[in-house]
């Protein structure tokens, strides 16, 4: 079976060569594309910026006031190249939905007339109208939901889907002076 032994040696030598030559190069760093590292809320004339890893800033509102609000999402992992992920969310509006939950204050949040339209012809709450109804101190939670099962749902469980990002903002509604 000399032939077989020759074939076998060729196999071994080839594999040794293949393996030893292949991995001298440094693996390329992965350019991570789906990262959200920053959420920005523009509430009226104020801007509140949340960066992943730092606490969210406190949102200060006045009782009995209306605010035009918009939410934006960014990938700021490379400070020299900040990417606006909001555009991606808008492109896939059918598969996204933003849901707000509030505790400790009275705040109504509804989809604005210039909101981006998503599933079931409903606004996805990227642009919203806020109106304060009761003063107090509490928390506002913003959830960006992927593939919601029911955008007409009234609570988080009913809406379903996967939470892509969830930010809790401290919020205070003060009585006007």
């Amino acid at each position: 079976m000399k032939n077989f032994k020759h074939i076998l040696s060729i196999f071994i030598i080839t594999s040794l060569i293949l393996v030893s030559c292949s991995k001298d190069d440094t693996p390329a760093e992965v350019n991570e594309v789906e990262t959200f590292t920053r959420v920005v809320l523009k509430v009226g004339s104020d801007t509140y910026t949340y960066n992943v890893g730092s606490p969210a800033p406190e949102i200060k509102l006045t009782l009995g006031t209306d605010y035009k609000t918009s939410a934006e999402f960014y990938d700021a992992s490379d400070p020299n190249d900040v990417e606006n992920m909001t555009l991606e969310v808008i492109e896939e509006a059918d598969e996204h939905y933003i849901f707000y939950e509030v505790s400790g204050v009275g705040l109504n949040i509804t989809s604005a007339s210039d909101d981006v339209i998503g599933a079931e012809s409903k606004g996805i709450n990227l642009n919203t109208d806020w109106s304060t109804t009761d003063n107090g101190v509490g928390t506002l939670r913003l959830s960006l939901i992927h593939q919601p099962t029911n955008v007409s749902g009234t609570d988080r469980a009913a809406i379903g889907g996967e939470t892509d990002i969830e930010v809790d903002w401290p919020i205070v509604v003060e009585v006007a002076e």
């Binding site: 079976m1 693996p27 350019n31 990002i165 969830e166």
Partner: protein, 787 residues
């Protein structure tokens, strides 16, 4: 001629017994005729090669041992007292015959191992299912599941890298370390299957759980074409499966084999709803050619395996609030109508293999064996993407491995024989950066070199001993990126600071990890005859294994499981010491086998939930690897009772108990008690057999507490809700029915119903048990044509 005077004057109550064994490999010769010429003393050896002649008058006799295919063996013996011995016969004269082949089919890899040989019938019964389902039929083997279509074997409580799968002479190299990575094997491709529990498989590797060995078909060299066409249909999931086996053999020993398999299933259904996205497609094929003769054999082949499977949509939750909502809901959060279409999240694995084997017998009847296997396994995991095409996978790893084994076996004469071997392995893992997701496992190069020495001592039919020693040297080299915050959090800035090559602009360190591991393993097996029908086996195994690349390097989001996994560079070798005692009664109406074991595993590596991490894609559960000293103990019990002619009650039972030594805490994912029974009516009108099967799985009462809280808004307030991912589900009973009808010698039809009562239940060993019930009733119809 017997001396008739001697008959009257002496006691004719002497016994001559022993074993008839093959001179080449020590294998027992079944139904060999052992006789004293010109007398009435004659007996056939049993299925262990044992023979016993009783009531012998003292004197000198001409012993003859004959066996189809063997050279007749002659010897003069003098019987004065009871004695026993082993007789070695030359089984290979000028042809390999049916009897030899039958013996090979029943052959154990070692006489002192606790092992099970699977029959062709049982293998074919599972050809529309998975390898883990097939081996899961025996006691002590459980199944770890990630959903319904990812299943892995657990042997005596341990799994992953502790269970070695050997196919075509080498270890199956396919990322076996991942809980959600099922073995890349199609049951349709399996000719012969053995499962060795524990440490006696040292020849193949260092795995404390055991070895699952898949070998090619054995055959008789004559001009034949044989094989089969098999078809199956499952109503649950509307699974279609078909396979073809072809074997062409020529008289000169030349052979060629072909195996093709195909399976396609849509969504499975539990009693109350569909398990959305639980379908899968599997294709496999293998081809081999070779030539076998008395002098040896060569064999070359190629095989391919491809499996695309859907991940249960409702399982894809990472955020703690989402996990809470999923657990809180009685039904999966996503239920869609039945479909065959597999959508995201899904996995695609393709496994290619080229193999070559050459063995040769020398004139002194020793044997040398060369085995080379090249394997290429590509695993892609797909998920919904944001900003890039959904067709780009979030994990894309290609693992290439070259394995070369050289083994030498001494001839088996008298009582002593030995085996030795060398193994060399090279492995290359490539993790494609084009995924746009941080590599879960880095690029690495790995090499292993190992050697073993086994020796077997069979002084009599009462006692056998086997001893093995194995040494492996394992070296892995990886260039890996770590986020600086992770690096510091894991505490690498002490020991590993000098492995940093440079810092990148995105806050990562590029590091060089060169790690080596030395493993010394040893095993000792004893087999002794306690009484005529009972024998005992004692095994002691000391097995040391290297950590797997996953245990060392996992770092990041594992999309399809929606969890973050962290390995640890500080993880070192895991060393297990296992003692097993087994008693077996394999004759009579009531046959049974009990196997008890106790293992001390130092630096046992496990993965379990360890908190929540907020990373840039949201908050996910984190699972981390860690090491701890563990104790395992348990026992397996098998029985078979012949109640009446053709009616049998068969069953098995297993129990496993484990704890972490330092704090006496339970360990995650230990199988609960498992009790299976089957009432079998065999050979009715010679064509039909049917059985009623019952299986009971207990509630695992020992489990670690890995619960956490999720903050949920409820009625305008934020409240903390307990997310209970620890509590195992309740116990359950399943009833099944199985009918086999042999239409004629070639065609048979089977009809099975599983979970007849359409029971709703959840399985503790299924990682997706949080989200959905297990499948409900399934009707399986199979048509087999063998030629």
């Amino acid at each position: 001629m017997l001396n008739s005077f001697a008959l009257f004057s002496q006691n004719c109550d002497l016994r001559y017994s022993g074993y008839v064994l093959d001179i080449f490999d020590g294998q027992p010769q079944v139904k060999a005729l052992v006789e004293f010429l010109d007398s009435e003393y004659k007996v056939l050896s049993d299925d262990k090669g044992r023979f016993t002649i009783e009531g012998i008058c003292p004197g000198e006799y001409d012993l003859k041992i004959s066996h189809p295919g063997c050279i007749d063996f002659f010897k003069k013996i003098n019987i004065e007292t009871n004695f026993s011995e082993n007789i070695f016969v030359n089984h290979r004269i000028n042809k390999l015959d049916e009897v030899f082949v039958e013996d090979l089919k029943q052959r154990k890899s070692s006489e002192t191992s606790i092992e099970k040989n699977f029959t062709q019938e049982l293998i074919q019964k599972f050809n529309s299912k998975n390898l883990a389902d097939l081996v899961g039929t025996i006691s002590g083997v459980s199944i770890l599941k990630t959903g319904t279509n990812i299943v892995k074997p657990i042997i005596n409580g341990v799994y992953g890298s502790r269970v070695l799968i050997v196919q075509d002479g080498s270890k199956l190299q396919d990322h076996e370390w991942g809980d959600d990575h099922a073995p890349s094997i199609d049951v349709n491709n399996i000719d012969r299957l053995q499962l060795i529990k524990g440490a006696m498989g040292l020849q193949y590797g260092n795995a404390i759980g055991g070895i699952i060995k898949i070998s090619p078909i054995e055959f008789v060299p004559k001009d034949t074409l044989f094989g089969g066409i098999f078809g199956s249909y499952h109503d649950n999931g509307k699974l279609n499966s078909s396979s073809l086996r072809l074997n062409k053999i020529k008289k000169n020993g030349f052979f060629t084999t072909l195996r093709l398999g195909f399976k396609s299933s849509g969504d499975l259904k539990s009693p109350d709803y569909f398990l959305t996205n639980s379908g899968y497609n599997e294709k496999s094929g293998s081809f081999s050619i070779g030539k076998k003769s008395l002098k040896g054999m060569w064999r070359l082949g190629y095989s391919i395996f491809s499996k695309e499977l859907g991940i249960l949509k409702a399982s894809h939750v990472g955020n703690p609030g989402d996990v809470f909502r999923a657990l809180d809901s009685d039904v999966p959060t996503i239920i869609n109508p039945y479909t065959r279409k597999i959508s995201h999240p899904r996995q695609l694995t393709v496994h290619n293999k080229v193999f070559g084997n050459y063995n040769k017998y020398f004139k002194n009847l020793s044997k040398i064996n060369f085995n080379y296997v090249y394997q290429k396994n590509r695993r892609e995991e797909f998920d919904f993407r944001l900003g890039i095409s959904d067709d780009i996978p979030s994990i894309d790893i290609t693992l290439q491995t070259h394995d070369l084994n050289i083994d030498y076996e001494s001839k088996k004469t008298e009582s002593f024989s030995w085996k030795t071997g060398l193994k060399v392995m090279f492995q290359d893992n490539y993790s494609n950066p084009e995924t746009g997701v941080k590599r879960l496992i880095p690029d690495y190069l790995r090499s292993e070199i190992g050697g073993y020495f086994l020796t077997s001592y069979v002084p009599s039919n009462i006692f056998q001993l086997e001893f093995g020693l194995r040494y492996d040297y394992d070296f892995v080299s990886a260039k890996k990126y770590y986020y600086i915050r992770t690096w510091e959090k894991r505490g690498y800035d002490n020991e590993f600071q000098n492995t940093i090559i440079r810092e990148t602009s995105s806050g990562q360190y590029l590091t060089q990890q060169d790690l080596s591991f030395k493993n010394l393993s040893s095993s000792l097996g004893l087999n002794f005859l306690i009484s005529e029908s009972i024998n005992g086996i004692l095994n002691f195994g000391l097995i040391s294994r290297s950590p797997s690349p996953s245990e060392l390097f996992s770092d990041g989001l594992h999309h399809s499981l929606a969890t973050i996994e962290y390995g640890d560079l500080k993880i070192k070798n895991e060393t297990a010491f296992k003692t097993s005692v087994s008693l077996e009664k394999n004759q009579g109406i009531f046959k049974w086998n009990i196997n008890g074991y106790i293992s001390n595993i130092n630096d046992y590596i496990l993965i379990e939930p360890s908190g929540i991490d907020q990373i840039s894609r949201g908050a996910f559960q984190v699972w981390s690897y860690r090491q701890t000293d563990a104790n395992f103990l348990g026992y397996d019990f098998d029985y078979s009772m012949n109640l009446k002619k053709n009616i049998y009650l068969n069953g098995n039972f297993s129990w496993v108990w484990a704890k972490e030594k330092q704090n006496n805490l339970p360990i995650i994912s230990i199988p609960p008690i498992n009790f299976k029974n089957s009432l079998l009516f065999d050979n009715i009108f010679e064509k039909i057999s049917f059985s009623i099967d019952h299986s009971y799985v207990g509630e695992q009462k020992r489990y670690p507490d890995n619960n956490f809280n999720a903050s949920i808004f409820e009625d305008g307030n934020i409240v903390d809700k307990l997310v209970d991912i620890s509590t195992p589900p309740k116990d359950y009973n399943l009833i099944g029915f199985s009918l086999n009808y042999n239409i004629n010698d070639s065609i048979n039809l089977t009809f099975d119903i599983e979970n007849i009562l359409n029971e709703s239940y959840r399985n503790y060993l299924n990682r997706f048990r949080y989200y959905a019930d297990e499948p409900g009733r399934t009707i399986i119809i199979k048509l087999n044509y063998k030629f």
